[in-house]
Symmetry: C2
């Protein structure tokens, strides 16, 4: 029985941990960097670097509950989430680390499923998982499994996306329906039984971002995770000192999410996404950006939802043409969403 | 009251999280990379890279219990541990990420103490903490605070340390007393009351490693954390297919740790260290390595403890000249040691 679940022995630096690393982690993630078995991965720096390139580095710990959900699992999410945080800076995701905190008693089969999902997602993205760490804590000292992934990638010299580029009259674009991830997790966690149309949008966004690299006039982009599109717009407004005006009727929301939000009094703007970008681009480039996005399945519902203006904060123009300020909630309605 | 402890709001992507990040994290870690506020740090890649350099990358999640202990705290440990995993590859630690998993109810004052300790340790090491992440989970879903740090550094072209360099007749050197960290944690956690001489050796090892870069004949080094020196020797033996023979009477152990081990039937070879290296070097270079180590306060008790031979596994030569094989325990006696 003790062979089938995580025990303290798996986190102790002894033989049990070596076995777990070999049988579960190295087996799924197998690559020359991991196989060296040193305390640090050694990566070909000069091969990555061309004159003027920047190294992008990002980290995320994933604590989502439930760990397996419609549209993904914590492993897929841990690869997509960190890869996407590189992609939105214009960096091709190259290398990822994987650090696990496991609760004593976690079934090894569950761990294997999650690690296999990470490996498959990384392989799809051509990302290597090059080093890792495993810790085990007692029953009740963590909830099943937490995963940290930290990623690096390279930003080409010609890419200078950032919030400092945002200007008045820029277009605000989203790449598809809002709130799918948050709605799916809420449905599962609270057993709302709202049907199988609530599916997380968890996806790798680099394929959608890469064609944007060659379009001039893009100022910044961000994936709208915790806090939803609303949190991103507030970040943009604060960083730029400008106003973000969006049109309520332009917001793409699928029917199942809209129905749940009406039922529970939630706003899809505040719900988390795991496969949607918010893009700020010059007005002249907006059509080219929308064309590039809509050419990819992940961006087929892309649309302009508003405009940057010289006011401040986030303004929403509602059904009767009335504009009101949109606050950033003190907290998002749903903890442990990622 | 809710202002004084961590609540779900601090992890939700809303205003409360922004405040926590500004007031606690950016305030202590302040640097231009963090201040940009993008989803990924952007680092000067070409400045790091010279022809033939390698990028070292390593990750560690810290779950130590207790979070504050004689000789350190989880914050200091999270910086030292990851920086040391870079240093043992010959990489100068350059940049670190910091990802927090916080339990609802953690006092903000405790968090501030830990973050300040991370910042002070990083500053001492001239390491920048360039990006981060904060998650909050419910009471009972994590134990106070878990910290992931992931680090990168650069290995110069002339450094080729690795387990594949280990050869028969090499010298086995340790840089000081064994088991200090494990003994200190055990004493505190179990309230053994064995006095104030049990202090963790948690320390940044780069200052001890840097002078070794210019010594030819060093084959590999490792910091002996979880599983102690015994686990490292087993790793070396397995990777090289050679035997690691050590002399029991040569092992440096301070009196307090030796006393505790005798009392509890533990072996200092299996206890964790957080500031000790195991070094494999050619026999000809052993004296030069010992001289370099002993010139630094962290290495003043350095000594040769054995020799690599053409047998296999780990052998220990005891008091009466009898040699026996040393097993790697199935698990280390103490969970959550780092």
């Amino acid at each position: 029985m003790s062979n089938d679940v995580i025990t303290f022995a798996h986190g102790s630096g002894g033989r049990a941990m070596q076995q777990l690393i070999q049988d579960t982690l190295v087996r799924h993630f197998d690559n020359p960097f991991l196989r060296r078995g040193e305390d640090q991965a050694r990566l070909p720096l000069t091969q990555l670097a061309s004159q003027g390139s920047q190294l992008a580095m990002t980290t995320d710990s994933f604590v989502i509950d439930p760990i397996i959900f419609a549209g993904g699992d914590i492993g897929k999410l841990a690869v997509c989430g960190t890869a996407n945080d590189l992609a939105v800076g214009g960096a091709r995701p190259e290398y990822l680390t994987c650090s696990l905190i496991l609760e004593e008693g976690l079934p090894l089969a569950t761990l294997d499923t999650i690690i296999a999902s990470m490996a498959a997602t990384a392989q799809q993205a051509k990302i290597e998982i090059v080093t890792g760490d495993t810790k085990v804590v007692g029953h009740g000292c963590a909830d099943k499994i937490f995963i940290n992934t930290t990623g690096i990638g390279v930003i080409s010299p010609e890419v200078h996306w950032g919030m400092d580029q945002i200007a008045a009259d820029d277009a605000i674009i989203v790449t598809g329906n809002l709130g799918d991830h948050g709605a799916a997790i809420l449905n599962e966690r609270e057993n709302l039984g709202l049907g199988d149309q609530l599916v997380s949008d968890c996806a790798l966004l680099w394929p959608l971002v890469e064609p944007l690299l060659s379009i001039r006039g893009i100022h910044t982009l961000r994936d709208a995770t915790r806090g939803g599109v609303n949190a991103i717009l507030h970040e943009f407004a604060t960083a730029s000192g400008l106003g973000m005006q969006i049109n309520e009727h332009a917001l793409p929301v699928n029917d199942a999410v809209r129905g749940m939000c009406e039922l529970l009094g939630l706003d899809p703007l505040n719900l988390a996404n795991e496969g949607k970008l918010v893009i700020i681009t010059s007005a002249q480039s907006a059509a080219a950006v929308l064309n590039a996005l809509q050419a990819h399945p992940l961006g087929k519902d892309a649309r302009q939802i508003g405009t940057v203006n010289s006011q401040s904060g986030v303004q929403i123009c509602g059904a009767y043409g009335v504009t009101r300020h949109l606050d950033l909630p003190y907290f998002e309605p749903l903890p442990r969403i990622c």
